[in-house]
């Protein structure tokens, strides 16, 4: 009965939505775009160890400042390794324009194999080119972008080559000194010599009475790390001094960095598996108070720990403050937490219509994005279970799951609600796979948000948005000068056709995913933005007027002229 009482579920999750007859919102263009041939490896297909279950990440960033988003995909391995020369390798795809990609991995110097997981994108040395930080089981990598299409791995020398098993990571300038710092969420201390294999008769690990891989429970969590950017190409681990928990490691998987309380500094939310989530409130100087329980984001609505995976900040209700989305393990609702002011969040998952359909899936990647450019932030969830044998457990969960797309709509009294749009979202939202990481990106620069997703033990999926043209949009490339050059932490307030929208350049977000923080604003039928206010991380505020829709703007901090 304990389990029954603790369970949170809903009926409609079990009722298949009728198939839509209209055109699909997203079209799978993985092959046409040139991303075919990538096959992610995450250990054995049977998933004997927890290391093999969390999947690999992805990043979308402009390696050469040509205005087109390129794609980086780390890859995994297997515990018994591969013969030399046959290892799965990470891949870098350069966007040739018009959304067609070419594999430039070897030319870029990124072909060395390692077991990679999460990615953080940011111009850590403010040289004008986005760099790449990749977490790993083994030393994490920092790939410095030389600006000529090649990268140099400098992790160890820069002081960020930590060997612990890293998951998501986020660049952000936590002390507002103009340099991007780095937060790395570590998962569990995984030693295959010490962790029992699935089915080990001496140490059987069970889930609902069934033998499964061991963990995370019973495994030591590894502490997260906050690195301060020294401004000379190196970083210093300041975790303890900054108030990041170092006495015990929780099972960190997702990270999002954003100024949720609007006080001008960047805070950190960490989505932890099977342990409380953490919210580090920035004191204003790059040191933090952990306020997860106090602010109402640490646990589920019934006070239970959640198996949290992915997370993202966004203003779903248009009130000008950042709300928080969290994906969770199966048989736990995902959580939408609305910022209620004064440091507190209130859980609105059920009130906005997200509880019913998010109970059974196991969610990973998620982000707020306006797929139809109507000016309201929608949501997607990448789903897939960790136990290949879960179907046989007869608990209503399946290893392969479909993704979910929810459209933000006005409910009774004008309150926002999310309606399930998965049935008209296209094949990827029907085809069941075990999805993991990813997020939105406008890879073809047509003004609407596409999606890139990774699938464990399979190929990536690139989904072109074919519905976004129903609304107008404007895209902003922000370039910090006094602020960090990536402008992570910038807050945009847009007024168009009588509506005001806030968008934020968060660090990290989703799951094992990162993207250049270009900001796309859906404008609905508005032909122009009446006013745009940019609050830069440095504290500087700039205002612009009468910006035409349908364009991409380069906003350079301190410059009044928009290109």
């Amino acid at each position: 009965m304990l389990r029954i009482i603790a369970a949170l579920a809903a009926a409609a999750a079990l009722v298949a939505a009728p198939a839509s007859t209209g055109p699909a919102i997203f079209t799978d263009v993985t092959r046409d775009a040139g991303l075919a041939g990538v096959r992610f490896v995450s250990g054995s297909p049977d998933k004997d160890y927890i290391l093999e279950t969390t999947g690999t990440g992805a990043a979308a960033f402009d390696i050469d400042n040509d205005g087109w988003l390129d794609i980086y995909l780390p890859n995994g391995s297997r515990l018994d390794g591969y013969p030399r020369g046959q290892e799965p390798r990470p891949r870098l795809f350069r966007n040739k324009g018009k959304g067609l990609f070419e594999d430039v991995t070897a030319k870029a110097g990124l072909a060395d194999p390692f077991w990679g997981f999460g990615v953080a994108v940011g111009d850590y040395d403010n040289d004008g080119f986005s760099d790449l930080y990749v977490t790993s089981w083994g030393p994490n990598k920092l790939f410095h972008n030389r600006g000529d299409g090649t990268f140099e791995e400098v992790g160890s020398g820069a002081g960020v080559g930590d060997p612990r098993w890293g998951a998501s990571a986020a660049f952000a300038d936590f002390d507002n000194d103009g340099q991007l710092d780095l937060y790395v969420a570590n998962y569990v201390a995984f030693d295959p010599g010490k962790v029992p294999r699935r089915g080990d008769a001496r140490h059987p690990c069970v889930y609902r009475g069934n033998l499964v891989m061991c963990g995370p429970t019973g495994l030591k969590g590894d502490v997260d790390i906050l690195y301060h950017n020294n401004g000379d190409g190196t970083f210093t681990d300041v975790s303890a001094a900054a108030g990041i928990r170092t006495d015990i490691g929780l099972y960190g998987l997702g990270v999002a960095a954003a100024d949720y309380d609007g006080d001008g500094d960047v805070d950190i939310f960490v989505a932890n598996d099977a342990t409380p989530n953490q919210l580090y409130r920035n004191r204003g100087d790059g040191t933090f108070d952990e306020v997860g329980a106090l602010s109402g984001v640490a646990y589920g609505v019934d006070g239970a720990e959640m198996g949290s995976m992915g997370t993202s900040f966004g203003d779903y209700d248009g009130d000008g403050s950042l709300d928080l989305m969290i994906t969770n393990f199966s048989h736990q609702f995902y959580q939408l937490l609305r910022y209620a002011g004064e440091g507190y969040f209130e859980e609105v998952t059920a009130a906005v219509g997200l509880s019913e359909k998010t109970y059974l899936p196991l969610g990973w990647a998620t982000d707020f994005f306006d797929y139809d450019n109507d000016g309201w932030l929608d949501l997607f969830f990448a789903n897939g279970h960790v136990y290949p044998g879960v179907d046989a457990m007869q608990i209503g969960a399946t290893y392969l799951e479909s993704n979910q797309l929810f459209h933000n709509e006005a409910g009774p009294g004008g309150a926002r609600r999310f309606e399930d749009a998965s049935d008209r979202a296209g094949a990827s939202f029907v085809t069941k796979k075990s999805y993991r990481a990813g997020g939105p990106l406008d890879f073809d620069r047509d003004g609407d948000a596409d999606l890139l997703l990774t699938v464990i033990d399979s190929e990536p999926v690139l989904l072109r948005n074919d519905a976004g043209s129903s609304g107008r949009s404007a895209t902003f490339h922000l370039v910090g000068t006094a602020s960090n050059r990536s402008a992570i932490g910038a807050r945009l307030t847009v007024t168009a056709a009588g509506r005001t929208m806030m968008r934020y350049a968060q660090g990290g977000g989703s799951y094992l995913w990162s993207r250049d923080p270009w900001i796309q604003v859906g404008l609905g039928s508005a032909e122009k933005i009446d006013t745009l206010e940019v609050r830069w991380p440095s504290g500087r505020t700039q205002r612009f007027r009468d910006l035409a829709a349908g364009r991409t703007y380069d906003l350079v901090e301190g410059q009044e002229i928009i290109k």
């Binding site: 009965m1 029954i4 009482i5 603790a6 369970a7 949170l8 579920a9 809903a10 009926a11 999750a13 079990l14 962790v195 029992p196 140490h203 690990c205 069970v206 889930y207 609902r208 009475g209 069934n210 499964v212 891989m213 061991c214 963990g215 429970t217 019973g218 495994l219 030591k220 969590g221 015990i248 929780l250 598996d273 099977a274 342990t275 409380p276 329980a293 106090l294 109402g296 640490a298 646990y299 609505v301 019934d302 006070g303 720990e305 198996g307 393990f329 048989h331 507190y344 059920a350 509880s355 019913e356 109970y359 059974l360 960790v386 136990y387 457990m393 007869q394 608990i395 209503g396 969960a397």
Partner: protein
């Protein structure tokens, strides 16, 4: 089989016997002494007609003529068993089986006699052999399934009950078998497979509310929440819901955000049995989600009074107190929660590895 035919009177023997009697024998010719098979046939007729003593006498005559006449031994064993003379029945049936170990009926009867005397281990090989010889015999299959069940071999019990149900889907014991299969599947954590068997049992005995509550729990375990609630509703309507059923129904309503009903059911559960803590946590959650934070705090205080180490209760109390504007009390509750939870986390990380909680 050949041995059995040679010893058994069979249809041919019975017809022969009947024909001789109807034709009669020439007066001048002295009747030949009856063969053991003829005596056996007459004995069976008597037995069928309910003349047990006569039958026993004739079976005895057959044995006198042929001490290895195993069909007669078998019948006498059956007569002994009917009269509850189990040791005698066992002796005779063993003797019969020793002569012919391939007669399913005899093997089955011996097994039954042994089972009645709690000689389960001895009975098993006879019953198993009988099931091989008579794979569609519902009595043999049922007894064998029950034997496996009582000796804890649930896989074999399950398989045999399923064979029984395939052989005798409309038998009087089919309902019982369905229930047994359902419970075993449930025990084997296969609730989705159990559901159909519960439903089959309830078709024959719809008033068994305790079984309906089991069906509801299996539906719940299979994540079929609306169907589970519908079954709980029937149990509740019949006035047969125990506190656990009320708590489960209430928690489903909580999951489905039917908050007033969740509160009502969980309150009833708690009123019926104040001891369990999970329904109280569920009730407090439902109250808090309904905006009734003062009542939620009231419920949570009963939890922390009974279980001061319940970190969830302290956390929920802190959240509700905050909503009530009682910041100092809220912080105290959250601090209690934090202290307890820290210890729990540390213990969990140093415990044996496990799957996901």
């Amino acid at each position: 089989m050949i041995r059995m035919m040679s010893r058994s009177p069979g249809i041919l023997g019975m017809l022969l016997s009947a024909g001789l009697m109807s034709l009669g024998a020439p007066v001048a010719v002295r009747a030949a002494p009856a063969t053991p098979d003829e005596l056996f046939a007459r004995a069976d007729e008597a037995l069928t007609a309910g003349r047990t003593e006569e039958a026993a006498s004739l079976y005895g005559e057959a044995l006198a003529a042929d001490p290895r006449h195993w069909p007669s031994l078998c019948r006498l064993g059956e007569i002994d068993a009917s009269a509850r003379r189990y040791p005698e029945a066992e002796r005779r049936l063993r003797a019969a089986v020793e002569i012919n170990g391939d007669n399913g009926r005899c093997l089955s009867r011996l097994a039954q006699v042994l089972l009645v005397q709690d000689k389960t281990a001895e009975a098993e090989p006879y019953l198993a052999r009988a099931a091989e010889l008579m794979p569609a015999d519902e009595g043999v299959l049922f007894n064998l399934a029950r034997l496996y069940e009582t000796t804890g071999r649930l896989d074999k019990a399950l398989e045999t009950y399923e064979k029984y149900l395939a052989a005798a889907p409309t038998s009087s014991r089919a309902g019982t078998a369905h229930l047994k299969v359902a419970r075993m599947l449930n025990q084997a954590r296969l609730p989705a497979e159990a559901i159909g068997h519960y439903e089959a049992f309830l078709r024959s005995q719809p008033d068994k509310n305790e079984v309906r509550a089991e069906l509801a729990a299996a539906l719940m375990a299979s994540s079929k929440y609306p169907e589970a609630l519908a079954e709980y509703d029937k149990v509740i309507a019949a006035g047969a819901a125990d506190p656990a059923a009320l708590a489960n129904a209430g928690s489903i309503c909580l999951l489905m955000q039917e908050l007033p009903r969740a509160v009502e059911l969980l309150e009833k559960s708690v009123a019926a049995d104040k001891a369990p803590i999970p329904p109280r946590i569920g009730l407090a959650t439902a109250l808090a989600q309904s905006g009734e934070h003062a009542r939620a705090v009231e419920v949570l205080r009963t939890v922390t009074a009974d279980d001061p180490q319940n970190n969830r209760a302290w956390y929920l109390m802190g959240q509700s107190l905050m909503k009530l504007g009682k910041a100092r009390e809220a912080r105290e509750a959250l601090e209690r929660h934090r202290a307890i939870h820290e210890r729990i986390m540390k213990e969990r990380m140093t415990a044996e590895p496990q799957g996901h909680p």
